[in-house]
Amino acid sequence: MVERVPPRSAQPRSRLRVLLASGAAALALAAGSIVPGVPLGAAPQQAQAADGGKSTLTVAVAQSVDSLSPFLAQKLMSTSISRLMYDFLTNYDPKDNHAVPGLATKWEPSADKLTWTYTIRSDSKWSDGQQATAEDAAWTFNKMMTDEGAAQANGNFVANFKKVTAPSPTQLVIELKQPQATMAALDVPIVPKHVWEKVGDFSKFNNDKTFPIVGNGPFILTDYKVDQYVKLKANKDFWRGKPKFDELVFKTYKDQDAAVAALRKGEVSFVAGSPALTPAQAASLKGEKNVKVNEGPGRRFFALATNPGAQTKDGKKFGNGNKALLDQKVRQALFLSIDRKTIIDKVFQGHAVEGQGYIPPRFSAYHWQPTAEQSLAYDPAKAAELLDEAGYELKGDQRVGKDGKPLDLRILCHATDPNDKAIGKYLKEWWGKLGIGLKVDCLDDVSVPWYAGEYDLAFDGWSVNPDPDFVLGIHTCAALPAKAKDSASTDNFICDKKYDELYKKQLAEYDPAKRAEIVNQMQSWLYDSGYMNVIAYPNAVEAYRTDQIKSITTMPEAAGNIYGQDGYWSWWSAAPASGGSSDGSGGSNSTGVVIGIIVVVVVLAGGGLFIAMRRRNTADDRE
């Protein structure tokens, strides 16, 4: 075949030609868009000048919207947007999370605790000009109580409602079946009745066809492109005051490294991280000019749960949890041998706080800490003692029970969470030293073995709300499944009379201080039980551009987070820096133009050279 190669003389030129050609192909591809890049780069600035310097705050988000209907939305991204579009009855103070006025200015229970009366403000208008009234609120709640399709996302809030009425435009009356202390924490977007009463099937209506969407929150949703962006404009008539940015854009970045790159460039003003920026990303951004890495206490707790013996509501046992864990001493021994500090330093790389009580310190009113004597702080010697007492003696390097079987445990881990795996390795080591075997089972979705009660321990974690009712309720007997393996709201099959009594008591206690006291007792019980032990509270790690955002309210205000707050504080309060806003287009203005021109010139020159050489070659052939 070698002899088929054309005469040598043609080679040097041809070789160059092929090289040139391959380069030119790549350049041509680039050129196709550099040219458009020229007008584009300059466009946003002109646009800004034209409409009087419109300021835009662009937020990079990883999640996509599941639904813009507040009756269906489950994802944090969507519920955060609902918060901005529609006012709730109440809001939470950014300083300490206590309830503050929203659409309601005042709320009062009756003497028998079963009727709550809300005074609805008269200075809130829907964006189509109509007045927002108590009638809208009553209609929203009634819809959720009567239509299963409208109860999908927030039905839990109205489960205990008997009747909701609006005797006057400024008065909303909610009658309850049982006393309920959470009535200033109804996280339900109130929608305009005159718009929503036209909706047919609530389970299929996504509220994403006509824009702008009528609302009364601090922002009005003006545009939405699936998987690309959600645009909102400032509501100039918002009763608390108009937001300082004119426009708020949530832009989808499915890859967090790409989002960080966009922040570095200034294409976005803020990166939330899902759930947080990685330690490496945070470290890389720390020295960056005009970028501030914001780290605040998170709302999640990261815990270990032990299987207390899975059972149904009527007490039927199921699952195969290790019987050794039915002994409180064994459970406590496990937690006594966990070195939380090492986990914080090595696994979370410092971006977390050591765990103690069930409710994270961010929610100061309900945060509880164990006393020195009940504390299960790192103490392997005491752990060994407890195991001896429980009858698990060390034989060789193994703990053996009275039945002669070695103590071997399993732990369910989320394959999607690298922290689970890393901590699993440490647990294996620490419990191994005590003589306990551990198998770490990492699964994409742990819910199947979990709800079948087929685990000994599990990595557990919840996002906590300012009102702790829900995270407390998931450990009550009422949350247990009706049938074995049914999914239910129980977290970990805990069912205890004392705890249940306390739960009922806190729900009926309308005095905040007294209620907090009961909640503390519940946390203390939970801690001692060893059914659940909080290892860490992971921090929220996010970053924003200081040349685009001058100031922004964190929650808690002193040192808190920005994305996914309880309330609209961050985006409502954010003030634009004089430097301007995110350009969003990606063209790097004048430099882009220069480079674009250079590339075009190179391509044209390359192309010209290519054609010229081709002519010469053809000429060679002709000779």
């Binding site: 070698v2 391959s22 466009a43 389970s203 969003g584 430099t591």
Partner: protein, 360 residues
């Protein structure tokens, strides 16, 4: 499918009895009526085969995703304060409380009428979600497909013709290097270098997405083209080696043929010998590859779509799988498989027209 016909094609080609005259579609000859009838029969069998495959896919997709040990309702509401009643109500609405056989029969029944149900997480018809994301995917993978196929054929031809030369070695090695690079990594690198800018290189392109969201008319088209550059470069860079290698090796096979010597002996220019004689004969294996790749155009590119936040089917499939949003994954799986089956069937149907030896 193509897999059946290709080996036969290669075997016959190896016999190397063909001359330049048989190189094009015009080569069909012989008693016309008999040939047409045989061809139609051949086409009918291929189409019937495709229909059977499609039905098998339809059935498989139902069971395949139910093997994932996962609870869609629990996964969807994960971490939110929902009551047991809400979970039950969702379960009922999704039909997950029905016995498996009942779910299956209603799925097949609906699917045969073109209804793939309603997405669990998006509360919208599966067909709507797919048609919503399809254009973005077709734009991205379609553009890259055309470019990497053209680039691959062109460079494949050049490198084979200059076999053993510096440019051959360079181009082949370069293509293979890019081929082995993970696409998401290359994409991220391009973002850092050409979107953000590094050192003297300014950021020229957007970091992600399909559009800026504030352009209309022609400016919108330019805006989308601007966003298209980096993802397309990524896909072309990673993809063209395949075509290049197939084209190169099949042309190398042809280069030993006597008809090329004949052509040269006639005094034809080297370019003409290559273009008119060698390349058409060497194209057949490349055609096979082109059709295989064509089928995958629809499936999108999950990794590249993720890195560049491209709102296409790949990303939708990923979102659907992570729940799993059963109606949506079933629908997408069916569409992806259909595209591959159709592309292969199309290849089978076209082959006899390109090369009359096939399907005889």
């Amino acid at each position: 499918m193509t897999a059946d016909s290709t080996p036969a094609l290669v075997q016959i080609a190896d016999a190397d009895t063909d001359g330049p005259a048989q190189s094009g579609p015009s080569a069909a000859h012989g008693p016309r009526a008999r040939n047409t009838k045989a061809y139609l029969q051949y086409v009918a069998t291929k189409i019937a085969g495709a229909a059977v495959s499609l039905f098998a896919v339809l059935v498989t997709s139902f069971f395949l995703f139910r093997l994932i040990p996962s609870d869609p309702v629990k996964q969807m509401t994960g971490g939110r304060p929902v009551s047991a009643e809400q979970l039950q109500s969702l379960r009922h609405q999704f039909g997950l409380d029905q016995p498996m056989w009942q779910q299956f029969t209603s799925y097949v029944g609906d699917a045969l009428t073109g209804d793939f149900g309603t997405s669990f997480q998006f509360h919208a018809p599966v067909i709507d979600k797919i048609t919503e994301a399809l254009p973005a995917t077709l734009l991205l993978t379609g553009t890259s497909y055309v470019l990497y196929t053209a680039l691959g054929i062109w460079l494949g031809t050049r490198t084979a013709w200059r076999n053993g030369s510096m440019s051959d070695r360079f181009n082949t090695a370069f293509a293979l290097t890019l081929y082995s690079v993970p696409s998401f990594w290359l994409g991220l690198l391009l973002i850092i270098v050409f979107a953000v800018g590094i050192g003297p290189i300014p950021g020229m392109f957007p970091t992600g997405g399909l559009e800026s969201g504030n352009e209309t008319g022609f400016a919108y088209v330019l805006d989308v083209a601007h966003h298209l550059v980096l993802p397309v470069i990524t896909l072309v860079a990673v993809g063209y080696a395949q075509t290049l290698l197939v084209m190169r090796s099949s042309l190398l096979d042809e280069m030993g043929s006597d008809y090329l010597t004949t052509a040269r002996a006639k005094g034809l220019r080297d370019d003409v010998v290559r273009r008119k004689h060698a390349v058409p004969n060497a194209m057949l294996p490349t055609f096979t590859l082109m059709f295989v790749n064509l089928g995958h155009v629809v499936a999108g590119q999950i990794l590249v779509e993720t890195v560049f936040s491209w709102p296409g089917l790949g990303g939708l499939f990923y979102q659907a799988l992570s729940v799993p949003d059963l109606p949506l994954v079933q629908g997408l799986f069916f569409v992806f498989a259909t595209a591959v089956i159709l592309a292969n069937t199309l290849a089978d149907v076209l082959y006899p027209l390109l090369d009359p030896r096939v399907g005889r």
